[in-house]
Amino acid sequence: MVAEEKRIKVRIRKNVPKIVKAAVKATVVCVIYFILIQFLKPVFTMIPDLQQMIQTFTIVYVVLMIIGDLASGTLFQHVFNASKALFAIVYLIFFLNAGIFEYTSGDVNLIVDVRLFLVIAMLLWLLGLAKSVLQAINYVSERVEVVLV
């Protein structure tokens, strides 16, 4: 009974920092999101779908980030980090219309080509994906070493 209580206490002590870390990171991302929203308000009047796109992206990203942080110290942390990077890549490709924004108001037609930014962002996400894969390999190899020792 005492041993069981001790184990629960240890587990809570182990998980509290993870929860705090996840909460702090989520709060920081949300603050950045709200600052960005204020900053981009004039752009949203021109491209109303953009706000919805950023909102959906942020929600999914924050959820994956929280789950990844809660699963830290396990292989799942790296799986969720990799899935976060993959989600970002797929989302950027499909929902940013391949990097070309077109806006029409009355007789005025505006086309903004952000393909270069899209490519750079995708490369950075790929870098994040590579990092997650390396971290997963590192994690598994360390576990194997521990078992062997």
Binding site: F39, L40, P42, V43, D107, V108, N109, L110, I111, V112, D113, V114, L116, F117, I120, A121, L124, L127, G128, A130, K131, L134, Q135, I137, N138, S141
Partner: protein
């Protein structure tokens, strides 16, 4: 393994910070960017071409320079086919710089009326397409285009050629008179001559008469065209009204009975 992972981590964060700051500052930079399109002006050249002038003012108060600015103007007829156009290229507009320029589009009326004869006698709205393309901050291509309409006034609006009247003036000569009326709605004054030509049954020219015209913008013309033909020339097969002006030439055939 941990060192490469840490290096990838640092590099990723550094690139993300750079990308976000650059994107945000580029968007912020374009906040006050303005392009003012002035009222178009119409004039004529010494070569008797119509000249449409479009004054443009580009104001770049942003943080980055604007590169490869291309301003183009295309004039289309009411069916959407291209009549005239042109573009102007400005390599760089520095930060805080304002550039004023005028894009002129020349329109050869003779060529235009050969392909678009209805513009001679029908007032219509021409479509002008203004396109502005540029590189914001040297890397973001932006293109804006707008449509507007421009009124075209026909030089021979409501052209009416009346029924020819023939009268003997001497024993050997007859005078054929044809009433002519139209309104000049064009951007230019109509100066030139109108010829009335009479052709016989073998399509030979049997007489021609010239009437000088000078019709200022937005004013009507009412007059008679006259041609003397020999009485013995026989039957007049057809008559031809031939306009020769500074801007165009135009021929209209009429039957001797006016149909």
């Amino acid at each position: 393994m941990k060192v490469p992972i840490r290096i990838i981590d640092i590099a990723t964060v550094a690139f993300w910070v750079f990308l976000i700051i650059f994107s945000a500052s580029a968007v912020y930079s374009m906040k006050d960017f303005r392009v003012n399109l002035g009222q178009e002006q119409t004039s004529t050249t010494q070569d008797h071409e119509l000249l449409f002038s479009f004054p443009v003012s580009v104001v770049n108060p942003g943080l980055y320079e604007i590169a490869d600015l291309n301003f183009s103007k295309t004039i289309l007829d009411n069916t959407g086919s291209r009549i005239a156009g042109g573009s102007i290229y400005i390599p760089v507009i520095g930060q805080g710089q304002t550039i004023n320029f005028t894009k002129s589009v020349e329109l050869n009326v003779t060529d235009l009326l050969q392909t678009h004869q209805s513009l001679l006698y029908d007032d219509t709205d021409l479509i002008t397409i203004t396109t502005l393309s540029m590189l914001v901050a040297g890397v973001i291509p932006v293109q804006a285009s707008t449509n507007s309409s421009m009124q075209w006034g026909a030089p021979l609006y409501n052209l009416t050629v009346g029924t020819p009247q023939s009268a003997m003036i001497t024993a050997t000569q007859s005078l054929v008179t044809v009433p002519l009326s139209f309104e000049n709605h064009a951007f230019f004054n109509l100066t030139g001559a109108v010829w009335l030509r009479a052709y016989g049954t073998n399509d030979e020219l049997i007489g021609q008469g010239q009437t000088d015209i000078e019709v200022v913008q937005n004013s009507p013309y009412n007059g008679n065209l006259e041609v003397q033909v020999p009485s013995g020339a026989g039957f007049i097969a057809r008559l031809e009204v031939f306009f020769v002006t500074d801007f165009f030439s135009y021929t209209q055939e009429i039957a001797p009975n006016g149909s």
